[in-house]
Symmetry: C2
Subunit: 147 residues, 2 copies
């Protein structure tokens, strides 16, 4: 298999990286716009999502999944707590860790975020067959696997 790009003909703005970057920007902007009424930031709704579906329940887990700085996470959680979205609960099992729980308020946010995401993705995937989406996913996963 010959290499895809070579130095002579390389055009940065036409490379996969640029396309991926533009697609990501389109997604982020669309979601932000959709979630604007909830007054919640990009980093924040991802956390609500992860707590809401049980993928994480402590700051450390969130940091690991999101590859996010622990210090920044503490402050992000502070903000969500101040908003009344989540609460910190110390547990007996491990007294270092703080279990994070969505409040009733926060729990109401979860389905709204899911709905927004589904809507945005479906919109950005207009005209795609399921097979094409599957293929896109697969190609991206192969890139990540090569890292």
């Amino acid at each position: 298999m010959q290499p895809i790009y070579d130095i002579e003909s390389f055009r940065p703005s036409q490379a996969v990286g640029a396309h991926i970057g533009r697609a990501r920007r389109a997604i982020v902007e669309a979601i932000n716009q959709e979630l604007a009424p909830l007054d919640i930031s990009h980093a924040q709704w991802i956390v609500v999502l992860l707590l809401g579906d049980g993928a994480a329940s402590t700051a450390a887990e969130l940091c690991k999944i999101l590859i996010y700085d622990p210090g920044a996470m503490t402050r992000l959680l502070d903000r969500l707590q101040k908003k009344g979205v989540l609460k910190r609960v110390r547990t007996k099992a491990d007294r270092r860790a703080v279990r994070l729980e969505l409040t009733a308020e926060g729990a109401k946010l979860y389905p709204r975020i899911v709905e927004a995401l589904v809507q945005v993705y479906n919109r950005l995937l207009r005209g795609f067959s399921r097979a094409e989406v599957q293929q896109l996913d697969d190609l991206l996963k192969r890139m990540v696997a090569n890292a």
Copy 2:
């Protein structure tokens, strides 16, 4: 064409957005690692690239292409100037604008960045046929077009 995702079965971490996010992270990290010896940040090498291949020559153009805040751009250019990578040249044509030019130093950076990008992309695309890369590009472009 039926919608791709539905609320019940939606798994955020398996959606296209997540895959795109992970691919982007893999690319950024690989490039940063490759360019670490140059002591230049993510935002900075993109600017050098755009100036180097003539895609932009003023701060305003850079902002437009990168969808980047003008204030932040001023300061980013300050840093690159202090590093001796570029210089600002006032021109008679439009006395508001400042033409940006790579210094001899900056010009030497350009091919090294291109080389790093080509290398990283080719590595992340190991095992891809040209057709597959083309398909990936196309699928991403279609998403962006739907935005």
